[in-house]
Amino acid sequence: MSLTPTKKTPSEKVRTWTLLLIPDRDQVDVLQCIIDVGQVRIGLVAGAAVVGLTLLGLRGVSWVPGGGPGRAELVTENLMLRQQLQQIESQLDQADATMQRVQLYDAQLRDMVRDNPVRPGSGPVDEESEGLADEYLDYDEDHPGFEERDGPVSLEAEELRPAESWAEQVMVRTDAYVARLEALEPRLGLLTEDMEDLLSIQAAFPQVWPAEGTFTSGFGYRRSPINNTRKFHSGVDIAAPRGTRVVAAASGVVQMADYNSGYGRMVEIDHGYGIVTRYAHNSSVYVRKGDWVDAGQVISTIGTTGQTTGPHLHFELMIDRQQVDPLEYLPH
C-alpha cells in the first residue's frame, strides 16, 4: 500500500491524495482510491463536532436529571448561540471598518485645522484653544486597540472553538471597542469646535463681490484722480451707473451707516474676527447701525457722494484695523 499526492507543484498545496491498495499477488486488480483532503477535513470536523456536541448533550442530561430539556434541544440551542456569536463578530468587523473611516476623516480634518494659516483678529481662536488642539493631536497611546486576527477564521476552526472562551474573546473585543469609541468622542467634539471656528473665520472674509461693474482702480499707491498727487489708495474702485446695487461682501453687523466728507454716504460692516468691510460714495443707504446683514444682501446703491470724479463704489477690507488688498480675498 502506498499513499502519493495526485497533484503536486512547488507552489501549490496538496489537495488530493491517492490511496493505492496493491495486492501481494498479481492476478487481482490494484484498488485505487482518490482522497480529497478538503473532504477529509470536513469529515474530521463533522466527526469532532458530533463528538463534542454529544458530550455537551450528555453533560446537559447529567445536570438536569429527568424532565429537563432533551439532548436535541440542547444541540439546537448550542448551534443557535454559535450562530449569534458569529453574527456579533461580523458586526464588530463592520464597526471596525466604520471606525477606520472615522479615523481617516478625523485625521484629515485635523490637518485642515492645523494647516489653515488664517488667525486674524480677536475672535475665539486664541492660544488657549490652540493648546486644546494640540492636546487632541496626540491621542490613542493609552487606549486599547484591537488585537489583529490572522485573516478570516475558517469554518472548521469556528466549529471547534470552545463556546465559552470564544464568547469571552468577543466580550473583550466589544469592551475594547467601546473604550475606543469613548476615547474618540471628546476628540471629535473638540475637532467640531475648531472646525466651526475655522469655517466661521472663512465666512467672515468676502464671499461675493460687493457690486457689478468695471474694476477701475486697485489697492496701493497711485496717482490721485482728484489732485494728481501720489497717494495711497486704501481699497478698490468698481465703477457702475448711479443706482447700481451694492451688496454686503460677507454677513455681519452694520457698525456704521453715516456721512463722511471724503467717503460720502458710507457703510461699515463688522464680520467678526477683526474683519471689517467699508463701502463708500453711495447714493442711497438702506441699512442702519446695528442691522444684521447676510452676504449678498443689498445695503446701498452706487453714487457720487464724497470726493469722487464719477459714480463708483470704493470698497475697503480691513483686518485688525489694517487696510489690506481686497483682491487677495475676493472670490476669483
Binding site: S11, A97, Q100, R101, Q103, L104, Y105, A107, Q108, L109, R110, D111, M112, D115, P117, D140, E141, E148, L199, Q202, H332
Partner: protein, 252 residues
C-alpha cells in the same frame, strides 16, 4: 514604444512642506502620483513609501516567486493583478509603519498609478488624485474621486458645481494607510498613438478646471504643459501642494 513625459511638483503658496510625491519610470512605462497627509512628517513619508513600493513591486514581481497573484490567463489580466498587488502592498506597508511608530500615526496617502503595457493602459487609484486623458482633442477624467463630496454628488445631495467650492471638498473616503486592506479601483483600456495623459494631486484639480487642463495639454508638450499647469494653480492661490505628471504616447 516611445513615450515622452514630465513631472513637476511644487509646495504651493500656503504650505510649508510638500507631501506630494511622484514617480516616472521609463523602463516600466510607469507613472505614479501620490498626495500624502497626516501629521508633521507622516504625509511626505506615506506618499514616498507608496511611490517606492509600487515601483519596486512592478520591477521585481516577475522574478519573485514568493508573490502569489490570482490565477489569470490573459496577459492583460496579469498586468492588472500586478498593479493591484503593488498598490495594496504599499497600503499595507504604510498601515504597518503607522501602527508601529507613534510619530507616523495617522499618516496616509492617495495613490494614482498609470502603466502603459503593450496595447493597453492601466490606471489604478485610491483617493482624490486624478487621471485625465486627452484623445483626439477631447479631455476626459479617467478617475472618480473617492471623496466625501463626490459621494454626495452621486447621491444627488450636492450638485457638481456646489462640490467644487464645498468646504470639505478635500476630505477623502479611501486612502492608503488607514486600512490594512484597501479596495483599489482599476481600469484597463486600449492605448492609442498620440494619447496624452495627465496625473495630478487635488492641489491642481481644485484650482484648474477640466476644460482648462484639456486646453493646456492640447496646446503644449509634456514639459510645458506640466510646468504651465503647476504655475496656474500657484497663481490662483496655491492652497495645497501641486503635482502634475504629463505623459504623451509618441509611438506604440
Amino acid at each position: 514604444m516611445r513615450i515622452t513625459s514630465c513631472g513637476v511638483t511644487d509646495v504651493g503658496m500656503k504650505r510649508t512642506n510638500n507631501e506630494d510625491n511622484y514617480l516616472i519610470n521609463d523602463e516600466l512605462n510607469l507613472f505614479v502620483c501620490c498626495d500624502g497627509m497626516g501629521g508633521h512628517v507622516g504625509g511626505e513619508y506615506a506618499s514616498a513609501i507608496a511611490v517606492n513600493t509600487v515601483e519596486e513591486v512592478l520591477a521585481s514581481i516577475d522574478s519573485d516567486e514568493q508573490i502569489e497573484l490570482p490565477d489569470v490567463s490573459e496577459p492583460v489580466d496579469r498586468s492588472r493583478e500586478k498593479l493591484r498587488y503593488a498598490v495594496r502592498l504599499a497600503g499595507k506597508r504604510i498601515f504597518e509603519k503607522a501602527t508601529a511608530e507613534p510619530e507616523y500615526k495617522g499618516m496616509g496617502t492617495t495613490a494614482l498609478a498609470l502603466m502603459i503595457d503593450g496595447s493597453n493602459f492601466l490606471i489604478a487609484h485610491v483617493g482624490d488624485s486624478r487621471g485625465y486623458l486627452l484623445r483626439e482633442g477631447r479631455i476626459e477624467q479617467l478617475t472618480e474621486d473617492h471623496s466625501l463630496v463626490n459621494e454626495k454628488v452621486k447621491a444627488g445631495v450636492l450638485t457638481a458645481e456646489e462640490a467644487k467650492t464645498h468646504k470639505l471638498r478635500n476630505i477623502i473616503t479611501r486612502s492608503l494607510g488607514y486600512m490594512e486592506e484597501v479596495e483599489v479601483d482599476l481600469q484597463v483600456r486600449a492605448v492609442r498613438r498620440g494619447d496624452k495623459f495627465m496625473l495630478c494631486s487635488d492641489g491642481l484639480s481644485n484650482l484648474v478646471s477640466t476644460a482648462e487642463i484639456g486646453e493646456i495639454m492640447q496646446r503644449h508638450g509634456p514639459q510645458h504643459a506640466s510646468r504651465k499647469l503647476v504655475q496656474m494653480a500657484c497663481e490662483r492661490g496655491g492652497d495645497d501642494n501641486v503635482t502634475v505628471v504629463t505623459v504623451r504616447v509618441d509611438e506604440l
